[in-house]
Symmetry: C2
Subunit: 204 residues, 2 copies
């Protein structure tokens, strides 16, 4: 699964490292030497409950979903990750405890992995990478809190429209029943909802 870093790195990676912690070109080049490429085929499971997450993963290409199984063995999607997002289970990665999540590729995907030892060595070599990482966790935390509030409030229609507005790209590549799971509504309800919204006379 692993290979040398290819030349097709998504430009968003350098851009965020520059924007958030002022990475220089040479720091970026050094950073890249710590990455390991990992290809995950469509439908392949990248991580599953009971396993330990040995790396944080930058999605260079493709699309993945993270989910749990509830007590009735129903899949509950916690988040998606497409190009230029990160995915993994940080709790398992940091504490080396078994994860409770599944991570599955929804498309053939290319990940750049930072294993635990690379992560430590990188933070040692370029301390501001730790700042970058911590700030990423912090931003994720803000977003998750807002999503939690939204999950408890809002009608299915409001949740759907917000997702359409904020992440329209997800609708172009992710099967609708996964989007329904992410929104916490039944696939049939989502289909009816979309039909109703399409049929609504548009305001001009």
């Amino acid at each position: 699964m692993k290979a040398a870093i290819p030349t097709n790195i998504h430009p968003g990676l350098l851009r965020s490292l520059q924007q958030f912690v002022g990475f220089t070109q040479s720091e970026y080049e050094l950073f890249c030497t710590f990455l390991e490429v990992c290809h995950v085929k469509k439908k392949e499971i990248y991580l599953q409950p009971g396993k330990i997450s040995h790396a944080t993963a930058y999605v260079n290409k493709g699309c993945l979903r993270r989910y749990i199984l509830d007590d009735h063995a129903k899949e509950i999607i916690v988040n998606f990750a497409i190009e230029d997002w990160w995915i993994g289970d940080l709790e398992s990665f940091v504490h080396q405890t078994p994860t409770i999540y599944y991570i599955q590729a929804l498309e053939d995907s290319e990940l750049f992995l930072l294993t635990r030892s690379s992560f430590s060595a990188l933070c040692e070599e370029i301390p501001k990478y730790k700042t970058f990482h911590d700030e990423k966790v912090q931003r994720n935390h803000y977003t998750t809190l807002k999503r939690l509030a939204l999950a408890k409030s809002g009608t299915p229609e409001e949740k759907y429209l917000l997702l359409m507005k904020e992440q329209p790209q997800l609708f172009q590549r992710i099967p609708l029943h996964y989007i329904a799971s992410y929104l916490g509504i039944e696939p049939e309800s989502l289909s009816r909802l979309r039909k109703r919204l399409t049929e609504k006379p548009q305001k001009s």
Copy 2:
């Protein structure tokens, strides 16, 4: 509202600082000099939308709730904080942007505040305090992700029973309609649910 640090500091504060980043007694004493006491009366609003969160707050005594108003002006409770928890809006605190949250005291409460300038000075003086803070955010993030998954899955009964198991102390001091809001269910449904569970013949 502000006064000198009293002698009645909750023992949990020193305990976590020791446990997570190995604070010594003298570091703890120095840390305490950065805190400011703030009293918030029952029902008083400590933070509200549009304001900037100028401090992170350790709850030394009392109980508060953080909530948002949804599009229908319905209150959605995001979290509670009782003794030995922290409360605030980190996003607003870090980026000095207006908060979207209300924080209200549910009991007369005593908070120990770390203002932005104190926080910076403290991290400068005792760098491992920053580690403590970042790890706290990280732990909160894990919990919030799990709560998000639960909010999307699980029946009201499952959500209620889990909260009863994990944080039974909340039921002894927080009005039931707030607990219903936190669980994302209607107060009437929660009452019916509790009645049904009480009436259920207990397994011996």
